[in-house]
Symmetry: C2
Subunit: 255 residues, 2 copies
């Protein structure tokens, strides 16, 4: 029962060196060859031990340079539902989040006009093949990508209005509540469904996700009185954000 494989023992040793401060964030570990001698095991066993710790997000390796103790930036907090409210400014909420965190934000957005897939059609309550405006976003803060998302809007509703193209015009960069308020279709509610999974290798690459870090996937639906008008699939590496939801209870006096 008490037995542990060698690689796990070594991983535990190194882990303790990190938590006890002998290995500080950003510092470099001895090379794999040196670790082999130090622990008197073969290279594969050392590699297996290091792989465990990389998978836990404690180490990161760079080919040709070495293995280093990861230094984690504090995750931002994504406040809901506050983030959706256009308080003083109608700007999209990540601008405020970056500002309060003292980070510089960069947004890449591309919009294309396309037709609804089966999934999007059902989600938006329209027919397959109906025209939709699809926008892909990629948001980086201080050069680090923090989210990538795809967003679909019903073209029939926004066509000919000031918000027809989310990436240009007077309301570019505005939050969705402000945008739909501008065309007289106020958002009545937003629903989010959160899942978490490991990123694919492609996602890990484009979002610069260290191994061992999961991905939040948020399916967001914005409703108006006449039905959903915008849906988004938002991917956020879980080491960049925490998701906060504030849920006030209606007072029991009127029950």
């Amino acid at each position: 029962m008490g037995w542990k494989p060698t690689y796990a023992i070594i991983a535990e040793r190194i882990r303790r060196q990190i938590t006890e401060g002998q290995l500080t964030p950003g510092s470099q570990l001895p090379s794999e060859r040196e670790l082999c001698d130090e622990h008197a095991v073969s290279a594969t066993t050392i590699r297996r031990a290091l792989a465990e710790l990389k998978n836990l997000g404690l180490l990161e390796s760079h080919q040709g340079r070495g293995v280093f103790v990861r230094e984690g930036r504090r995750p931002l907090i994504r406040y809901a539902p506050h983030r959706f409210w256009p308080q003083d400014h109608p700007q999209a909420s990540y601008y405020r989040e970056a500002e309060t965190a003292g980070r510089s934000v960069d947004v890449m957005a591309e919009s294309v006009r396309t037709t609804a897939s089966e999934r999007v059609a059902e989600w938006l309550g329209i027919e397959v093949g109906d025209a939709v405006v699809q926008v892909t976003y990629r948001i980086t803060m201080d050069g680090q990508p923090v989210s990538s998302s795809v967003c679909w809007e019903v073209a029939r509703i926004t066509d000919g209005t000031a918000i027809a193209d989310p990436t240009s015009g007077p309301h570019a960069g505005a939050g969705l509540v402000a945008r739909y308020a501008a065309i007289g279709r106020p958002i009545t509610g937003i629903a989010e469904v959160i899942s978490a999974r490991m990123p694919s290798t492609a996602e890990a690459q484009t979002l610069d996700i260290p191994s061992g870090t999961p991905l939040f996937v948020i399916e967001q639906t914005a409703h108006t009185a006449s039905g959903p008008v915008q849906v988004s699939e938002i991917a956020i590496p879980a080491d960049r954000y925490r998701l906060s939801y504030d849920m006030p209870m209606p007072s029991p006096t009127e029950e």
Copy 2:
């Protein structure tokens, strides 16, 4: 640029066999030795390819038996804030969730009286060392653990009331809103902060988490008019639940 390591190519091949239905959920793969011959590579390379897919949650292996395609149960949905409302029944919400999913639920709860740690004290707005009631829950559905949580309540508030011990008395098994309503301290709001990370080996064991599945960690705070009365740290394997949040917007005219 286009080069991929052998193990990645093999992993991709096997992955395609799964997505295209040649390997059905629950079915067994050829043994590692057979796969070596089939793909003309060494055992380590095959193992590396299988490790990738196990890490993605597509495969699971059992020593002495073989490697199998995992069959995933559909994740439940945890509806917030609805789940907190004591609609017809004051029962805790997982009972309803299990019922609608047609699963049998089993709850293990243990309460102890202890003192507040620094973290819990700050969280609850009390002093370090103040008396708290700590409850640990472990909820299983159809024999599969779906969450484990630790919950702290301010003893000064509940002492001497009908809800002093959350695990016994007339309100055992009731939701927190119902419980605090019963002592005349209605919950005015609930806040949740969600993070996701990979489980530790201990967590993976007790929650029966397959490798490659992250863990939701929810920090939940229940507020009354006079401040927080209960905080919980809830751990949920991300393949068991999706987290839904419904956020209606107050209409600009009234309410």
